[in-house]
């Protein structure tokens, strides 16, 4: 009978968690001072493979602990407990311009974590692992309900936490990529907020053309939330990314229907025709299309299309009239929108108007445009289809992987704390009574 030694033990906890939860990864029973590689692999819903890896050396007891030990190289280095997730990239040979986004939120992202002998950077498929485990990363907590919204001309998906409520709510707005992106709303519902992911940048929602998305559409969406029996009508926030920020800022200041309790604005700008609509933002951008630049790999840089920040007050949202707290999140390496410059200009406008106490700006060096919930892989550029013309490009979003990923982790934590503060704990009513 051959003596087979028990293999090294790869311990990961928790094996089922939410997408924004940390995990611990440890390897035990290794020979001491042994080079090993920890490898993570995802097979996405689109059929692509994403991977990350870190190089470690076991200590004198044969242990590697990712929470404490330094990765000496790979797709991330240093002490990075979650590096195996956020540093993932498409495996060699993959299609170009990929972005890892979960469309089906009822199922988890399944990640295979393996440990290999030696310091490897390729050939993982051909090599036998010493040990491997599987972890599920979920956008939806059990009991969260998903409801299709098609009433009043509004297209979206509503996510509700379990229980009777009532709950505070969010209007969740993505950007120029269009479509109906659900995962952030699913996650927000898992944290106790009703969240409406709104589709608004597709021909279906804007009468055949994206440039006709009117303000009434957003007001109708906000009203759906306000009138929902499980929502606290006076505790609704707007979370916008990119174009979603334009909507959030413009409607919060100028709409009589939309009275949010607070705003979270990510990677966006206040530059738009005053009391205009989204189509006006598009017009402005199109006027400056000659400002499009390209990097050395011919990827599109659009940040200059709204620069310079106008001094003409009719060309930007009068944030001096803002009545609710605003959390601005910007990446200093955003190559898609001039978010840093806009945030700076907004601060000056609000200081002049005397309401700058409402503004909190989180500015992250090395972070790019796509600041999303944490631990999803950072990509510096990806394929993009222009809504309307359906033109296909590769757009540069910016950001360096490590600082961008730290920015996602920090900004999400602060976003949840901001929402908890203003939507759950706050007793102050900021909108005037209509009685």
């Amino acid at each position: 009978m051959s003596e087979k030694a028990a293999s090294p033990l790869l311990l990961l906890h928790p094996t089922r968690g939410l997408i924004d939860e940390k995990f611990s990864v440890m390897v035990q029973n290794l020979p001491q001072i042994q080079d090993i590689t920890l490898h993570a692999l995802i097979h996405s819903d689109d059929g692509d493979y994403w991977e990350a890896f870190g190089h470690y050396v076991s200590d004198a007891t044969g242990l590697v602990n990712v929470a404490n030990d330094s990765s000496l190289g790979g797709t991330y280095d240093g002490v990075e407990p979650m590096g195996l997730l956020w540093s993932m990239r498409p495996v060699p040979g993959s299609r170009i311009g990929l972005r890892l986004r979960k469309k089906e939120v009822h199922t988890p992202m399944v990640v295979h974590i393996s440990v290999y002998r030696g310091h490897m950077s390729q050939g993982f498929r051909e090599q036998a692992a010493l040990a491997s485990v599987v972890t599920e990363r979920w956008y939806m907590a059990p009991g969260v309900r998903r409801v299709d919204i098609t009433e009043g001309g509004v297209t979206g998906t509503l996510f509700l936490p379990p229980g009777p409520g009532p709950f505070p709510a969010l209007l969740d707005l993505w950007g120029g990529g269009g479509g109906l992106v659900e995962y952030r709303s699913a996650l927000l519902a898992s944290h106790g907020f009703v969240s409406l992911a709104l589709e608004y940048m597709t021909p279906r929602t804007s009468g055949g053309s994206t440039s006709h998305v009117g303000n009434k559409y957003f007001e109708a969406a906000f009203t759906i939330l306000k009138q929902h029996p499980q929502v606290c009508g006076d505790r609704i926030a707007i979370l916008g990314l990119s174009f979603g920020t334009s909507v959030a800022l413009g409607m919060a200041v100028y709409s009589t229907v939309i009275q949010p309790r607070c705003l979270v604005c990510v990677s966006g700008s206040h530059v738009q025709q005053v009391k205009g609509s989204l189509s006006d933002v598009f017009s402005e951008i199109n006027k400056n299309v000659r400002n499009t630049r390209y990097d050395e790999e011919n990827r599109v840089i659009w940040r200059d299309l709204l620069l310079p920040i106008p001094t003409d007050p009719t060309k930007k949202v009068d944030v001096g009239q803002m009545k609710c707290p605003v959390l601005m999140i910007v990446g200093e390496d955003d190559q898609n929108w001039p978010a840093t410059e806009s945030a700076e200009d907004m601060k000056q406008m609000m200081e002049r108007a005397g309401n700058s106490h409402l503004l909190t700006t989180l500015s992250y060096p090395g972070a790019g445009h796509l600041i999303e919930p944490p631990y999803s892989p950072h990509i510096r550029a990806s394929n993009f289809m222009v809504a309307g013309t359906r033109q296909k490009l590769v757009v540069l979003w910016g950001g360096e992987t490590a600082p961008h990923s730290h920015a996602q982790e920090d900004s999400w934590k602060k976003t949840l704390a901001f929402l908890e503060e203003h939507l759950y704990r706050s007793t102050e009513v900021t909108s005037p009574s209509n009685l």
Partner: protein
């Protein structure tokens, strides 16, 4: 409008439970609002209290922390757990707490002052689950399909809601749902992601193999249950989730084993084939095998370990006999039916049967006892002192004595639990003090013993010690 607002305020001041009444009123106002259209009046809406569970997806043996927030301070609340088992029966548990000065309750640190359990019991809502009033009698909570989780709903309710009486109450009288303040759902899994479940029907062996994720090779267990028969998978699934390959082995009352369902039709050759199958498996460390048995499975485990020429590294026995009342055939002939000779069956005042006397060492013919004196590996023997199905204490004493006489005391470790019954299983699952044994030719309920709270404590401790024992002897 103003008059309406004052009216509402007056109501609230009178009630005393300001926030909670307010929530209900706000909900009603919101309903009116949607019914009549965009009425422009203000609703000062307080969000509902919050009930959180950490984690929301856990393995069965993982503790879950439950907390309530944004509740009124120093107020009585009830936490209710309810779930449906796979047959659709409703199980529930309730516990009574008082919130602190911050309006917070934490079930991991606070004490329950009434309900299904009292005292500080972080997992009480799970191990105290009982069939709801009006459900079928003689139920026992056991998961058949281990590839799906139990989904448990947890609710926060206002006040101290009494536990429903176990008999004679009308289900419709229960006003559930109306006073629910908050809710959360948790999933409890027997299988970790990546664990593989493989049905085994080869070399005559009938079982289910669970393998941890990864290439292995892994230490492994042979997992044996009792005379309930069939193929019970959940303990093996959990072992694999903890890094041990595990073969749940059927030997009685299974349709894929040839012969009558009410007799044991397999003998030493069968168990040897099973052990060998595991040993030879490419993802198993052939020299790192253990055996666990519960009830009659203990006798089988001891027999396998001492008489059929295999070398396990350790044996774990839970509440089982040193020998068999009915002779286990060496030549794969059939044994007598377990129900053939009932002279040692005893009955309580309700007509529930206890099999305890059947396994009294004095009632077991000496030639039917396992040759424990030949045991070469450590044995962990777990005793429920209130076991009404097996004479566990007496058998433990006999095994201990035989080992001592053979100069092998160092192999024997006993864990003995006051108030625990026969069915010492993975933790945080409810004990069944009795359950339906058979319905043919007539309904017969059998006694297992054990009281809810001490049995739960025993399961928690015994499971921890079992895994430690396996780590030490199979991986060390």
């Amino acid at each position: 409008m103003l008059r309406a607002r004052m009216c509402v305020s007056a109501l609230c001041h009178r009630s005393g439970t300001f926030v909670l009444r307010w929530v209900n009123i706000c909900r009603k106002i919101a309903c009116v609002q949607s019914a009549v259209g965009p009425v422009r009046w203000k609703t000062y809406c307080s969000p509902a209290p919050f009930l959180t569970a950490t984690p929301t997806r856990a393995l069965i043996d993982e503790p879950i922390t439950l907390e309530g927030h944004h509740l009124p301070p120093h107020s009585p609340i009830t936490v209710r757990a309810y779930m449906h088992n796979e047959d659709g029966d409703l199980w529930e548990a309730l516990s009574h707490y008082n919130t602190d000065e911050m309006g917070v309750v934490n079930m991991t640190t606070d004490e329950s002052v009434g309900g299904s359990y009292v005292g500080c019991e972080p997992m009480g809502l799970f191990w105290a689950l009982q069939p709801a009033p009006g459900e079928r009698e003689g139920l026992r909570l056991r998961k058949k399909n281990v590839e799906t989780p139990y989904s448990v709903q947890l609710s926060l309710l206002e006040g101290h809601i009494p536990v429903p009486p176990s008999e004679g109450s009308n289900k419709e009288q229960w006003q559930r749902g109306e006073q629910e303040l908050a809710a959360v759902t948790v999933e409890r899994w027997y299988m970790a992601p990546g664990v593989r479940r493989i049905e085994i029907r080869q070399n005559g062996v009938v079982g289910t193999l669970f393998l941890p994720p990864g290439p292995g090779p892994f230490p492994a267990m042979v997992d044996l249950w009792g005379m309930g028969g069939g193929l019970i998978e959940y303990r093996s699934a959990l072992f694999a989730s903890r890094g041990f390959a595990s073969l749940s082995l059927a030997y009685f009352g299974h349709k894929d084993i040839p012969g009558p369902l009410n007799t044991i039709n397999v003998g030493d050759a069968y168990f040897k084939a099973a052990f060998q199958f595991l040993q030879d498996h490419p993802q198993v460390c052939g020299d790192r095998l253990g055996i666990i048995g519960l009830s009659f499975g203990v006798y089988l485990a001891l027999r396998i370990a001492t008489q059929i020429g295999v070398n396990p590294r350790c044996v774990i026995g839970v509440n089982g006999p040193i020998g068999s009342f009915n002779k286990l055939s060496d030549s794969d002939g059939q044994t007598e039916s377990f129900e053939g000779d009932q002279k040692h069956w005893s009955y309580d005042e309700q007509g529930y049967v206890s099999f305890r006397e059947v396994s009294m060492p004095n009632n077991i013919p000496p030639e039917n006892k396992a040759k424990v004196e030949n045991l070469c590996c450590p044995l962990l023997y777990i005793v429920g002192e209130d076991d009404l199905s097996c004479a566990a204490i007496e058998n433990a004493d006999e095994i201990e004595k035989k080992l001592k006489d053979a100069g092998r005391s160092h192999l024997f470790t006993r864990l003995s639990y006051l108030g625990a019954g026969h069915l010492i299983e993975p933790p945080y699952t409810p004990n069944a003090r009795s359950s339906m044994w058979t319905t043919r030719p007539k309904k017969l309920i059998t006694l297992w013993g054990g009281h809810l709270a001490p049995h739960a404590a025993a399961q928690e401790d015994a499971w921890k010690r079992t895994l430690e024992f396996m780590e030490r002897h199979l991986r060390g």
